[in-house]
Symmetry: C2
Subunit: 396 residues, 2 copies
């Protein structure tokens, strides 16, 4: 499904009729994405009790920006509205220079970030690598014995980080309700109703997936692969994911608010796409990476972990291009790399969730949206143009 970029303001968010079974769809998704804990079961990722990472504010007037589009020029706010933005936060040179919220969205409201959750999960893996608890070249079954004798056996942690484990999972068409990518919403706890012929929970689905190809033979986006990283994190820490995440990451970056993470019927954390945070905290997460893993002088992530996303021996680029992917150079460690030389990369989630990290302009942009469709190419393309225009305004 595609939405035409329009100069007409989208419908304001509405609660009426929104249920725990329809909230991922328009017109309810704007209310739903900003009230996930009222519609799905969630665990708390605690911010702990430390001080908030203060972001100095110096508002920059970006109102004069003009973003070209085939339908005519847009000002920044009109452009953000046209791509169904709920929250937009820009931090440049460590200063909060721009912040905008759609009608009914508050700065202290957690909002689902969908697959940006994968980049969040990667950070925990990075912390565990730094502690020596995880070796990215080790096989997944070394950490989760349940994976022995399944399609996963022999896949490395790195294969999972790069979406290169050899399992069959169909996530090519989000408009197909029978695709695995959409079935995940019922299995992993986004929605309450689950069809009787679907797996009962994420872990049992993971264990039952058929093999496809060889580990490391390609990049193919399959969300469930990231869930194995969550399982590994629980296994090596002996903690539930939400607690391990709070312990290693969320309590250490001065987040303003607790985060939420969707859990499935058995309490398995939906690490591939179930994390909810405020836009400012999403920006702090981006800054953690822009600052090469350091927050207020404390090395939360190994600097090397944040650097390596920008390195590729050519394999990932080749696999990425072979799959017909365009717009990015490659996918690594649950991040989408636009331009490794420039240091521009992003976490992306369906319906318009993004965190952009740009080393060249020393900028992070956090964007949360509720596109009417899960993948909406005209909105994706125009939204990317908007972000690039903002980044360009800093490089002038």
């Amino acid at each position: 499904m595609h939405t035409t970029v329009s100069h007409v303001r989208p419908e304001p968010m509405r609660r009426e009729g929104c249920t725990s079974d329809n909230w991922t769809e328009p017109p309810w998704n704007r209310w739903g994405f900003s009230h996930v804990r009222e519609l799905a079961h969630t665990a708390r990722i605690s911010r702990g009790s430390g001080p908030v990472w203060h972001l100095p504010e110096s508002f920059r007037d970006l109102g004069a920006m003009r973003i070209p589009h085939s339908s005519g020029e847009f000002g920044l706010v009109a452009a953000l509205e046209a791509v169904y933005t709920d929250a937009f936060v820009v931090v440049h040179d460590g200063v909060l220079v721009y912040e905008w919220y759609g009608e009914g969205i508050r700065h202290d409201q957690n909002h689902l970030v969908m697959s940006v959750s994968k980049s969040f999960t990667s950070a925990l893996v990075g912390a565990l690598v730094g502690e020596g608890l995880v070796d990215t070249e080790a096989n997944v079954e070394a950490y989760v014995p349940e994976l022995r004798g399944t399609a996963w056996e022999g896949a490395t942690v790195q294969h999972c980080l790069d979406m290169a484990a050899a399992v069959q999972f169909d996530e090519d068409d989000y408009d197909n309700p029978e695709s695995d990518g959409v079935r995940l919403e019922q299995v992993s706890g986004y929605l309450t109703h689950r069809r009787d012929d679907y797996p009962t929970d994420t872990a049992s689905w993971i264990l039952s997936l058929p093999p496809q190809g060889e580990h490391g033979d390609r990049f193919q986006y399959r969300s469930i692969i990231t869930d194995v990283l969550g399982w590994i994190a629980e296994s090596v820490t002996g903690m539930r994911f939400a607690d391990a995440y709070a312990d290693r990451i969320w309590s250490r970056i001065g987040a303003e608010h607790d985060a939420d993470i969707i859990v499935d019927a058995k309490g398995f954390p939906t690490v591939e796409g179930g994390i909810c945070v405020t836009a400012r905290d999403l920006a702090r997460f981006g800054l953690l990476h822009l600052q090469r893993g350091a927050v207020n002088g404390v090395q939360v992530l190994p600097a090397e972990w944040t650097d390596r996303v920008l390195r590729d021996d050519g394999t990932r680029r080749a696999h990425f291009a072979a799959g017909g992917n365009v717009g990015h150079e490659y996918y690594r460690d649950c991040w989408w790399v636009f331009d490794a030389a420039r240091g521009l990369y992003a976490g992306h989630g369906i319906n318009g969730q993004h965190v952009f990290v740009d080393r060249s302009t020393n900028t992070v942009i956090a964007q949360q949206s509720t596109w009417p469709a899960r993948l909406d190419l005209p909105l994706l393309e125009f939204g990317t143009a908007v972000v690039k225009a903002v980044l360009d305004s800093f490089s002038r």
Copy 2:
């Protein structure tokens, strides 16, 4: 169902097999009550961004206490374990003098307080009375027009505060799964599965209840009556209950953590029994009342609102006794008054949730538990004896 008070430590909490449909029952309720947001849909009651109300700590050794019981004397910890306590916090003369947590329960963990939620709800009504938005002598339909033409018409806010509205709702036997008090768990969002022949949501159930007797003719405990107070609060503030509660109460008392409140399938807040807080924050809520509505010099509730719970013209005592209730003098404003002259009163919830306010010893005791049965008389009686023994130790 009754549980024999035993010297054997209860089973530690267990997650295995706990689901969104069985978590209110043993052996899952200990895990369930401390992980409600993972099992039910909850809204956030924000603590805001102000400073935490610091409770100075000076641990008092209560280990030498001996609490008599027909089965033999208990030390305090053994007694707390015997009544399935999960958390026990004592604040005396403004000092945190004792704090104990059951295995697997952390001080920062929200725990369901069941019907102590009613006392929480009363506080919001009190704040709204203070603002002039609610008159306790006004009829409920003046605030919620939907109640016109229903059994509720003509009931006053005070009737609702005192469980004296003339509606038929059967909550006399928690061991009867067909009783309204237990059906509420499916209708109001505690559990996920809802029988097809049950009301779809709390509001529609409220509207459909048949009349019984005359408003103000008796005290009869019927949880759904409190839900009407939540509806009134939403109506007069124009805010959702969780936000109104954060605004008027939770952000003003220096709570350490956000609270959770269960919401039903339509987002209606389960104000009669769905609030989850930490034990320390439960103690702060008690202190708000012990300190006659003032926190750090700010009058959060009118002092008069906290005083009037200790006043009765005899009507409530008569109604209370007429209903065969024992152990307390009367019920008023969603509080159970043990001894009005002494200033000892409490909020109580099934499965052993309590906040005790005692003016005579200047003490608050917060207790969260997971009795195997919703109402468990031997545990209730021994638990009350334990609390009174602790209070007595301060009056010596």
